[in-house]
Amino acid sequence: MRNHPERWIHRVAAELRRPVRLDDEFDRGVMDAVRAMPRHGHRPWTRMLRARTITVSPIVSGIAAAILFAVALSAGHFIGALRANRASGRVDVATDRSGGTKPGVRHSVQFVLVAPTARKVQVVGDFNDWDASHQEYVAQHRGGGVWSVTAAIPEGHHRYSFVVDDSLWVADPAAPRVLDDDYGLPNSAIVVGGGDVAQ
């Protein structure tokens, strides 16, 4: 076989040609995704979507390219201006400052708890791996029993709670609740991103 390199390559290929079988879970996943998309239907205007080959002269294609370029430039400028207007309050960081692994866009979120007899209030949640040791999640007392902290929270759905005096778990009274019979201690939910902060 050393004298027949082609035969050897074919043996390698034969090995690689062995069947690979996926289970029905894969099919279900594809069909779930496909069903969630807009259905195809018999609409006359879909004929326009079918690809056609059109032959144009170099001059016409050059002019068309120049027009498209100009349109793209102005559209890009408009979109950039729109984004700048919506950017207030956004903090873009590459990594989670708490040391966790949640890269992505963050938004400033203020957490407020009224706890007149508390000596210490912290915010813990999945955005800081339930670890309250970082200073940025320790609330400051503003007076009159009002505690608050503003932290940069990644976009997404999060669960969190206040911890008062290192021992008392308190759900955020102003936030949506999450049923938490797993550990018997209360949590709140926050959805960050999508234009508004829903809390």
Partner: protein, 211 residues
């Protein structure tokens, strides 16, 4: 077959078999998350195995790790942590199946919470369909509102109807926040939870007519 060749084949078989067995027994130890070091070794192994399964079935893994870390922080024992993580894994799988594989992680997480709170699977699927027709891509907020309503003792059927009606009306993010706040305040002021939810939903959907 010569003795030495036989021995070579047997040794090769044992080492390959051993590697396969080691791989199957301890997939959890390959590349497991460093944060799980907070757990005791047995719990860590089991949780890492669940996370590994989730990765293979393309279910978000971060919520599972968070659930384990939450348990550690709250002083739960290993059995309770494992039970919570396994339960969440099942709920994440169901949520992903109901919402479709294009669903974002936050939708799947919120969906798992909603299923845990008692939302039927068909309602979850319906919510996706209704939201898309209303021109809203994501269902994270209506799912969060549903879970909150259940936590405030609104019956499941009422909560489902309310959330579907809000989704049908194409509510914006701020409208969901306002709806949740209003219902909460009404209940805190002594209103019946179901009545508060239904009344505020009617108001919110009316405001959205013609938008």
């Amino acid at each position: 077959m010569s003795r030495s060749l036989r021995a070579t084949v047997v040794l090769l078989g044992l080492s390959c078999g051993g590697q396969l067995v080691a791989w199957r027994v301890a997939p959890a130890q390959r590349g497991s998350d460093a944060r799980l070091a907070r757990l005791d070794s047995t719990t860590r192994l089991v949780v890492a195995a669940v996370v590994d399964s989730a990765r293979r079935t393309r279910v978000p893994t971060e919520p599972l790790i968070d659930k384990a870390l939450e348990g550690a922080r709250k002083g739960a024992d290993g059995t309770r942590i494992v039970s919570a993580v396994r339960g969440l894994y099942a709920e994440l799988r169901s949520a992903r199946a109901a919402l479709g594989t294009g669903a974002a992680t936050d939708e799947i997480t919120a969906g798992a919470n909603a299923l845990h709170a008692g939302m039927p699977m068909r309602t979850l699927t319906q919510l996706r369909s209704v939201s898309q027709h209303a021109g809203r891509a994501k269902v994270t907020l209506p799912l969060t509102v549903y879970t909150d309503l259940i936590a405030r003792k609104v019956p499941s059927a009422v909560a489902s109807d309310v959330v579907l009606s809000l989704a049908r009306a194409g509510l914006r993010d701020g409208d969901y926040a306002m709806f949740q706040r209003n219902v909460r305040l009404d209940i805190e002021n002594g209103a019946d939870a179901a009545t508060a939810a239904q009344t505020r939903a009617r108001g919110a959907t009316l405001r959205n007519v013609g938008r």
